[in-house]
């Protein structure tokens, strides 16, 4: 079964554009050939329709994705407050960023931590849940909905829920721990800059594993049962069947989950913004970009430089991941 056929319809549903470079080359190769063969049969009107239907998305992609990306890169070499014209200042913004902006290093570390946590803890957890629920256990539907529920909630709502649970003086957790009374030393889950990032990761991971679970559930349903039977006949145990047969067969889903994990980690924003505006231990690159560009601050050049760093990190991660996945596929 060619995995590409499965991958392509799924790509547009994947969030954001970072997945686009992965899909672009295959499309580029296919389209002209298919077009040439068909054009002979097409009427002028058909051609017009195709031009509009292809042209508009291409135009939007160019204007909304590539043009803005290039503009960000261009702006990152300037000093601009949003009024009047931008002034070219070379790499000063980057120099400033790496040497004289304390939150930057923290933010990079937090984004990588986020990526690591999702990749090592939340994504495997989602896979585990999917495997368990795929076994038609009792109340499976209920568990499935319960675990998927946080995906439907916006991260801002999750931020609010975490407030209820983790608030220092009247949060549920500290009340259960019995530390809120007189003489107790309640843990400041949200205010302590060394602890709060873990609380946020827990909440983000809770949501992420539900998401991954649903993707893998769909993937597991698509695995041909005869493969498992064949493995069983060959004498493979359950673990071997899963890791040697089922998991590799789900490669299209694996690629999507991998890409989603990277994207979710790098675009993380709303939960920390809902909690404390992304300061005091919850700095993220996305928050720093927002703080610098949006709002009255208007350090547009400087903020663009942060955005370019984020772009490089995400493109690096996605390209490296897709290359290894696609290379494995070929061999």
């Amino acid at each position: 079964m060619p995995p590409k056929a499965d991958l392509e319809p799924a790509v547009p549903t994947g969030p954001e554009t970072a997945a686009a470079p992965a899909a672009a080359p295959t499309e580029g190769r296919r389209r002209p050939r298919a077009g040439r063969r068909r054009i002979r049969r097409l009427t002028t009107r058909d051609r017009l329709v195709i031009t509009v239907l292809l042209g508009l998305p291409l135009l939007f992609t160019f204007v909304l994705v590539w043009a803005t990306t290039l503009a960000s890169i261009g702006l990152s070499f300037t000093n601009w407050d949003g009024i009047g014209s931008a002034k070219f200042i070379g790499v000063d913004n980057y120099k400033e960023l790496f040497t004289n902006y304390p939150p930057f290093a923290t933010a990079i570390w937090h984004n990588l931590l986020w990526l690591g946590f999702l990749a090592v803890v939340a994504t495997p957890l989602g896979l585990l849940l999917a495997v368990l629920l795929d076994r038609k256990i009792r109340f499976g539907r209920f568990y499935q909905s319960a675990i998927y529920l946080p995906v439907v909630l916006s991260l801002a709502v999750i931020g609010f829920i975490s407030q209820l649970i983790f608030a220092r003086d009247d949060g549920i957790l500290n009340t259960l721990l019995g530390t809120t009374g007189p003489g107790g030393h309640p843990v400041d889950w949200i205010g302590n800059p060394h602890i709060n990032i873990w609380v946020v990761l827990l909440m983000a991971g809770w949501r992420h594993s539900g998401y991954v679970m649903v993707l893998y559930l769909a993937g597991l349903k698509g695995v041909d049962p005869s493969l498992k039977e064949a493995a069983a006949i060959d004498g493979a145990n359950a673990r071997q069947t899963f890791f040697r047969v089922v998991f590799p067969v789900m490669r299209p889903v694996n690629i999507i989950v991998g890409v989603i994990t990277v994207i979710e980690a790098l675009r993380a924003f709303d939960i920390v913004y809902a909690i404390n505006g992304g300061t005091n231990g919850l700095e993220l690159l996305s928050v720093l970009i927002t703080d610098n560009i949006i709002g009255e601050a208007s350090r547009i050049g400087f903020g663009s430089a942060i955005a370019v760093v984020l772009l490089l990190i995400s493109v690096g991660c996605i390209v490296a991941y897709c290359m290894t996945e696609l290379r494995e596929e070929k061999s």
């Binding site: 009024i83 400033e96 800059p193 601050a297 350090r299």
Partner: protein, 439 residues
């Protein structure tokens, strides 16, 4: 799912897919066309028929202030015969989009803040000069006028109301323990010590939002180094790593043992509630703290001026952010806009607003104070005796500097109060870089 019936339907429907698309395209046209027309309509309406209509961009989006502004606008319309078209925008969105708003298609008159935050836009040429409107004003003090004046000496801002910052407390708690109002730093500290002995947390404090701590910094700075130094420091003309600033942090550190625990995880509302529940004794905040006190409790709320640190400065500066109005540089109906601004500077306009919102003070000295509650009356006394009125760190200084450097810096200090030297050097380095970019 794929029953023969449904399959049939799909094949019979597929030729019409194009017609669906066509319908969609027409639909999209139908959606956009009226809005284009509407845009043309409103453009020509404001431009051509500008004689008797003024547009007004309002950031007073919360129900109470919105009602107050509506009162004032209604009073203007009935007395002048002008029609005011009010566009209310969410307060925070308005603030975040101000740059684009002013360069795009701004309303004739719009709501904004006094201080550097106004002067910055005046300097960029985005505001209309209203010195002529100002020459007709009466009842505005010199301190208020100074806050409405741009760096070029012209007036740009019509002040409307303000809300002083002070140290708030509950009268009943002070009466119960027999506490005296502290006027000096030593009295303040010993009062805090006494409260601790009495089982109270002395000072409610929160900085999760990043800005409430700025009030305390500003006050300690103005008490120690004076109002002029505050202005000059906020304007970027002073050295943040110098002894004067370090002294502010060193003084502030003396207060930390008396602060509420977990301040960085608390919003100002939460720590104001601790004061309201009599768990804490005092809190440095703006008069909007009254919003957390309902009915009878509000009458129990009182405040004292921030204690003096240096006798030469005493308690003569008051932090009282002013909200008001500006004229856009592209006003389509400048005459009408100036009429509206003239009206908004009168006591009558201020009373129209204050009848709806009792947590502010009118800036005009002849505003009718008979409707004031006790808190507003003491507030009015505090500001009227002030020698100078500061705005607030984020209004007296560059927004890029405050929001990207100072929020972080003050939180860092509260987490790790011992490394003041490192912190001040870091602020100074970042400040130099940011202020150097002024083109």
């Amino acid at each position: 799912m794929a029953t023969p019936g449904s399959h049939d339907r799909i094949t019979s429907n597929s030729p019409t897919r194009r017609s669906v698309l066509r319908a969609a395209a027409i639909g999209a046209g139908a959606v956009t066309l009226p809005s284009v027309l509407a845009a043309c309509g409103s453009g020509s309406g404001a431009g051509g028929g500008g004689g008797k209509s003024v547009t007004f961009g309002s950031n007073w989006s919360d129900p109470v202030p919105k009602k107050g502004i509506a009162n004032a606008v209604a009073a203007f319309q009935s007395s002048s015969g002008y029609t005011v078209k009010t566009n209310t925008v969410d307060h925070n969105s308005f603030q975040q989009n101000i740059n684009r708003y002013l360069q795009g298609n701004p309303d004739d008159v719009f709501g904004w803040f006094a201080g550097y935050r106004m002067q910055y836009f005046a300097q960029k040429g985005l505001l209309g000069d209203i010195s002529d409107v100002w020459s007709g004003f009466s009842g505005m003090s010199d301190a208020i006028k100074a806050q409405s004046t741009g760096l070029d000496g012209k007036q740009y801002f019509v002040p409307y109301y303000y809300y002083p910052w002070a140290v708030f407390y509950r009268k009943s708690v002070f009466a119960q323990h027999g506490y005296q109002i502290p006027t000096t730093w030593d009295q303040y500290i010993s009062l805090a010590k006494q409260m601790q002995k009495d089982g109270l947390v002395p000072i409610s404090f929160s900085d999760k939002d990043g800005w409430p701590a700025m009030g305390t910094f500003d006050y300690i700075n103005m008490r120690l180094n004076g109002y002029d130094f505050h202005k000059s420091l906020m304007g970027g003309h002073e050295d943040w790593s110098g002894t004067k600033v370090k002294q502010v942090f060193d003084t502030w550190r003396q207060l930390l043992p008396y602060y509420q625990q977990g301040a960085l995880g608390l919003t100002w509302q939460e720590s104001a509630q601790a004061l309201q529940q009599k768990k804490t004794g005092m809190m440095t905040l703006g008069m909007f703290i009254g919003q957390q006190f309902a009915g009878a409790d509000q009458a129990d709320l009182d405040f004292f001026a921030y204690p003096a640190l240096d006798p030469t400065n005493g308690q003569d500066a008051v932090e009282a952010p002013i909200d008001g109005f500006l004229l856009s540089h592209k006003a389509k109906n400048e005459t009408g806009a100036k009429k509206l601004l003239t009206f908004l500077g009168t006591p009558k306009a201020e009373n129209a607003y204050l009848s709806a919102d009792s947590s502010e003070l009118g800036v005009n000295s002849s505003v009718d104070t008979s409707g004031y509650n006790s808190l507003q009356q003491s507030g009015a006394k505090l500001v009227s005796t002030a020698k100078s009125i500061s705005q607030f760190m984020d209004r007296d200084s560059r927004p890029d500097f405050v929001s990207t450097v100072m929020i972080q810096a003050l939180q860092t200090f509260l987490n790790n109060p011992s490394d003041v030297d490192g912190l001040c050097n870091s602020i100074q380095r970042q400040k130099t870089a940011i202020y150097a970019t002024e083109g």
